[in-house]
């Protein structure tokens, strides 16, 4: 498959109809597409996958150009179109994807999808344009470039980690099938498939008239085969599910490790919130205490006045001369009675009368002495109480200030922790998810064992019935002939299966060697790449063994090496005239591949890739333009530039 041109109409930033023609010159096989960030380089890479498979990685699934939408009236429709022209196995194909959009009058959803995506594959045959039938579209697309491999051929520099992980972890049977197809094993698999169907078809040719048991046996065998086929399908589904679940468990484990800090942070946040609440209560208590201390403030401030008053009282010698529990009525009664309690006579002018009369000045209701004594006691008490008022107030005030200060710090800490927690996943939820997937995986393992056990039993029983039928068929001339032909087909089928296994192993080993050669020409020695039976790529430390963690530059090199290895082998085995290996050259489309490399590795990549791939299409930033010119100059067949007028985010033009 080599790309000739891509015609876009109102696809994202590409306003109106714009055509990008790629270089297919064998010598100058590089097409360089330059543009600033946001001008649509990644969009173009996505246009390929949308055109071929109807898939994009955009969050916003509306593909209609926003500038075009702006000029539309409500109710008006417009079509987004991508038309890719390519050659595959000597045939020119035109692959078209179309999607209609309608402008609405709703502000929250200004545009809506109108109808299904249209998908057409046309090819030129004898000067005529033919259409691939609707029912054959998927199969033909798989044959041109399987979706499972497309993401590696349309290499997106911004998704390196995901791609690298997918390359090193299990990808399922589809990926392995796709790689085998690209490595030219399609004819092998077709031959095996046709022989299997041929063997089954012979079963229908038996004539049951010679013995009715033949029909019974054939019916039983057919049932066995159908059940075995269903179990095989389920086993294939289980294998794919196991890959996905294992991958998900790995992702969750990685997320748990990555978010382990969030667990500590969440615990810290909890403690901080609890401390904040305690401080709010404490602050209330401190203010109450402060106000309580303030109640003694009048006594404290009156202390000097009270001391002065007491001194004045002492100086005046005003002491209490009253008789306890004796009031004015008592004295009046004694004077009127004319005799004192002590028996002395009380007459006007006597000393006793004079003394009693003088007592009127000191007894209640106007007992000045009592009042003075009371005043003195109160003063003493208040002075005593207010003695510690200032210290108490100062201490309470210090508590309020300390509490306020800590409260402010805690609030700040809560905000900081909240910021750190933002964007982090909840570890508890991740752990629960992981547990669920692990249970799921255990269930799949059990189901797989059960399926394999059932299939083993069915195969043995089927074999037994087949032997019984074969014995009967050999008794009739016509049926004997069918059995003989079938035996030949079975022999061919068995032979081809063995050859295929051997050929596939050889190809895988050769691919591993090729991938390592390319990897070492891009990246340092010291690492080895190992291909599993399912074409998973693992990095091995050459000297010590064991898998190794990978850096971004290393990840890119691995992906480059793997795909370049597949492309190289595909090209080379094209030269073989005999045998069942039938392959095809493929392009390498790379979005922003250079930015992660140092100068030496850029030189290596620019040197190696155009030699290996029949066609290289490379999207680079303006700033990397000089580097590309320096290292790819003599291989560049076409130079294209994306420019957005007035730095527009909604319009891009190709020149």
């Amino acid at each position: 498959m080599l790309l000739k041109s891509l015609k876009l109409k109102d696809f994202r930033q590409f306003k109106g109809e714009q055509t990008i023609v790629f270089s297919d010159d064998p010598e100058k096989n590089v097409t360089v597409i330059m543009g600033d960030n946001g001008t649509g380089k990644t969009t173009l890479a996505q246009a390929f996958t949308w055109c071929l498979y109807g898939e994009t990685d955009f969050d916003d699934k509306i593909l209609l150009c926003k500038a075009t939408l702006r000029d539309m009236l409500p109710g008006q429709t417009e079509k987004v179109r991508a038309e890719l022209t390519l050659t595959h196995k000597g045939t020119e194909y035109i692959i078209v994807s179309e999607q209609q959009y309608r402008k609405t009058d709703k502000s929250d959803k200004p545009v809506e999808v109108a109808g299904q995506r249209g998908f057409t594959i046309m090819y030129k045959q004898g000067g005529q344009v033919e259409y691939v039938k609707q029912s054959q579209l998927d199969g033909r697309m798989k044959e041109i470039l399987p979706f499972e491999l497309a993401r590696y051929f349309f290499f997106d520099g911004e998704r390196i980690t995901v791609m690298s992980k997918r390359l090193s972890q299990g990808k399922g049977d589809e990926f392995a099938r796709a790689v085998r197809s690209l490595l030219g094993l399609d004819a092998f698999t077709s031959a095996i498939d046709h022989l299997k169907k041929t063997i089954k078809d012979y079963d229908k040719k038996y004539d049951a008239r010679s013995d009715s048991k033949i029909e019974d046996y054939t019916y039983q065998i057919s049932n066995f085969e159908q059940t075995i086929e269903l179990i095989e399908m389920r086993l294939s589904e289980i294998a794919d599910e196991e890959v996905l679940v294992t991958e998900r468990i790995g992702d969750l484990q990685a997320a748990i490790e990555k978010n382990k800090k969030s667990e500590e942070l969440a615990e810290r946040e909890k403690k901080l919130i609890s401390r904040r609440d305690a401080l709010i209560v404490q602050k209330g208590r401190n203010i109450t205490g402060l106000l309580s201390a303030l109640k003694r403030a009048p006594a404290y401030f009156a202390k000097k006045m009270m001391r002065d008053s007491l001194q004045q009282l002492t100086k005046t010698g005003k002491t209490d001369k009253s008789v306890p529990f004796v009031n004015a009525e008592t004295i009046k009664y004694l004077i009127e009675r004319g005799r004192c309690i002590c028996g002395a006579e009380v007459c006007t002018g006597t000393d006793a009368c004079n003394t009693l009369t003088e007592l009127f000045s000191y007894v209640p209701p106007k007992s000045i002495g009592d009042s003075i004594a009371d005043f003195r006691e109160k003063c003493k008490e208040r002075v005593r109480i207010s003695e510690s008022m200032f210290d108490d107030f100062e201490a309470k005030y210090a508590d309020v200030c300390a509490c306020d200060s800590e409260y402010a710090e805690v609030l700040q800490d809560i905000a900081d922790v909240g910021k750190q927690l933002l964007g982090m996943d909840d570890v508890g939820k991740l752990q629960a998810d992981r547990k669920r997937y692990e249970t799921n995986l255990r269930g799949l393992h059990m189901e797989k064992s059960d399926c394999e056990r059932r299939m083993g039993g069915l195969e043995t029983e089927c074999k037994r019935v087949e032997t019984e039928r074969d014995k009967l068929t050999l008794k009739d001339d016509n049926n004997r002939r069918v059995t003989i032909y079938k035996a030949y087909a079975q022999y061919m089928y068995n032979t081809l299966l063995e050859q295929y296994a051997e050929e596939e192993r050889k190809i895988r080993e050769e691919l591993e060697e090729t991938v390592n050669d390319i990897f070492h020409s891009l990246f340092d020695e010291g690492f080895m790449l190992e291909l599993s039976e399912r074409y998973d790529v693992n990095v091995i430390l050459s000297d010590f063994g064991g898998s190794s963690e990978t850096s971004t530059a290393q990840n890119i090199s691995i992906i480059f090496a793997f795909i370049a290895g597949v492309i190289k082998m595909a090209r080379e085995s094209q030269k073989e005239e005999n045998g069942l290996l039938v392959t095809e050259p493929y392009p390498f489309v790379m979005d922003a591949p250079l930015s992660s490399f140092d100068k030496k590795r850029i030189e290596n990549v620019c040197d190696v890739l155009p030699r290996i791939a029949e066609q290289v299409i490379i999207f680079i930033k303006d700033t990397d333009g000089e580097i590309a010119e320096e290292h790819l100059g003599n291989r560049i067949g076409r130079r294209l530039t994306f420019h957005a007028p007035n730095n527009s985010k909604t319009e891009t033009y190709v020149s």
């Binding site: 000597g90 498939d193 046709h194 032909y485 079938k486 030949y488 061919m492």
Partner: protein
């Protein structure tokens, strides 16, 4: 199961390996060609294989 040189027993039937290999070689060429051209459908391929086996087995 191997029997005489050049013969093998499959499902109780003696298969002439030389004849079977002739059909296999023919099939390999056909499949390689068909992957490129897609000229023949599955049904046609199955019919061709059966015809070829019959011709090869019955050839003296």
């Amino acid at each position: 199961m191997e029997t005489n040189i050049g013969e093998i027993t499959v499902n109780g039937v003696t298969v002439d390996k030389k004849k079977a290999d002739n059909v296999l070689r023919w099939l390999i060429r056909q499949e390689a060609e068909n992957v490129r051209t897609k000229a023949r459908s599955d049904v046609q391929m199955i019919s061709d294989i059966q015809k070829n086996i019959q011709e090869e087995v019955e050839r003296r």
